[in-house]
């Protein structure tokens, strides 16, 4: 049953759906190995997403990832393979947790952040700013930035996946970047632009 994430992602949607439906049924019946398969398939992808949303803050990322998995194992019954992949479902849970976490506590006052700085404190602050900004972005902007910077997809690839024209995606990316800059503390984009 065990397949790696790459195999899972490369599957046609119908195969992926059947595969994950079978695993879900096994998990609901209490099969530990089925759960481990789901876990192994999705762990890397989920961690990468959460770490990106946390601006690279490892501690926060681990905390959110842990919370996400614990929610997932308790609510596996709610997962519908027909609606979305297991990883997408997990990302949805994580996105809610991230939004709650970073929208609740606003970042400290804008600090002169230097991207190249090695200083741990500065890196931490910079990550916080990024996390808060991503949490404040509209969902579609966050998705296009994720596709571009985390999944490293080209504009054409994003357009093909989303069923849009490359021009529309380029425009969306421009607006998303603009929104990112506007939400970020002033000093931050002065430093980075």
């Amino acid at each position: 049953v065990s397949r790696n994430l790459a195999e899972n992602a490369a599957m046609p949607p119908s195969d992926r759906s059947s595969y994950e439906r079978a695993l879900r049924s096994a998990v609901l019946a209490g099969d530990e190995r089925a759960w481990q398969t789901l876990y192994d398939d999705a762990f890397e992808g989920l961690f990468a997403y959460v770490a990106w949303r946390c601006g690279g803050m490892r501690d926060d990322a681990e905390e959110i990832v842990q919370e996400t998995w614990l929610i997932a194992v308790r609510r596996i019954r709610a997962f519908d393979p027909e609606q979305a992949s297991f990883l997408t479902w997990l990302r949805g849970i994580a996105a809610n947790l991230l939004r709650q976490r970073f929208r609740r506590a606003r970042p400290r006052a804008a600090l002169p952040l230097d991207v190249a700085a090695d200083d741990g404190e500065r890196r931490r602050e910079q990550a916080e700013v990024i996390a808060h900004t991503l949490a404040a972005l509209p969902e579609r902007y966050e998705a296009v930035l994720r596709a571009k910077y985390l999944d490293e997809q080209t504009v054409d690839e994003i357009a093909a996946e989303w069923g849009e024209t490359p021009k529309a995606i380029e425009s969306l990316l421009t607006r998303a970047r603009q929104a990112f800059r506007e939400i970020c503390p002033t000093n931050f984009h002065e430093e980075t632009s």
Binding site: A61, V73, R74, V115, E152
Partner: protein, 168 residues
């Protein structure tokens, strides 16, 4: 080509530690096992509760004094009482007694008509013939013949009373 200012910020990568990954896997698997056991326990509890309720219900039913057990009346076919069938009158010639009357001398005719009437009432159940015979008997007799005697049957009595009324 302009440099993307967000690239260094948003392209950050952070790999999970294998220890964290394995620890979390074990923890989630434990949750799964715990929930499975909980479900089984709940199922077993439900079964036990059902059995207990069933046992309580049986005991409660047994404890109730239902009084005398209901009489189970056995349905038996009712005794067939043979209905006395009227004896089919022998198809003897019903006018025969009347014919004999004519063979007798006149003073004895009234008596023979009575006998013939009695035969029609008692044996042949032919009341019309009996009535005819009794009328002949009374018509042929004297006044004393209209007196009701203990030997008269209901039909003779009725005829005598009727004749007496006519005479008066």
């Amino acid at each position: 080509m302009t440099e993307d200012p967000l690239q260094p910020l948003l392209a950050c990568r952070s790999a999970p530690s294998p220890a964290f990954r394995e620890a979390l896997k074990s923890r989630t698997a434990r949750v799964l096992v715990y929930r499975r056991r909980l479900r089984r326990l709940a199922w077993a509890g439900s079964c036990a509760a059902c059995l207990l309720l069933g046992a309580c219900a049986v005991l409660a039913v047994q404890a109730i004094d239902w009084g005398q057990p209901a009489q189970h009346t056995k349905l038996t076919p009712p005794d067939v009482v043979p209905v006395p069938q009227p004896a089919v009158a022998a198809k003897a010639p019903t006018v025969a007694p009347e014919r004999h009357v004519f063979d007798r001398p006149a003073p004895r005719r009234a008596e023979r008509y009575l006998e013939a009437g009695n035969y029609f009432v008692d044996e042949a159940h032919d009341y019309a013939s009996a009535l005819r015979c009794y009328e002949q008997a009374l018509a042929g007799g004297d006044a004393s013949a209209l007196e009701i005697t203990p030997d008269d049957n209901w039909l003779v009595m009725a005829l005598k009373i009727d004749q007496q009324r006519k005479e008066h």
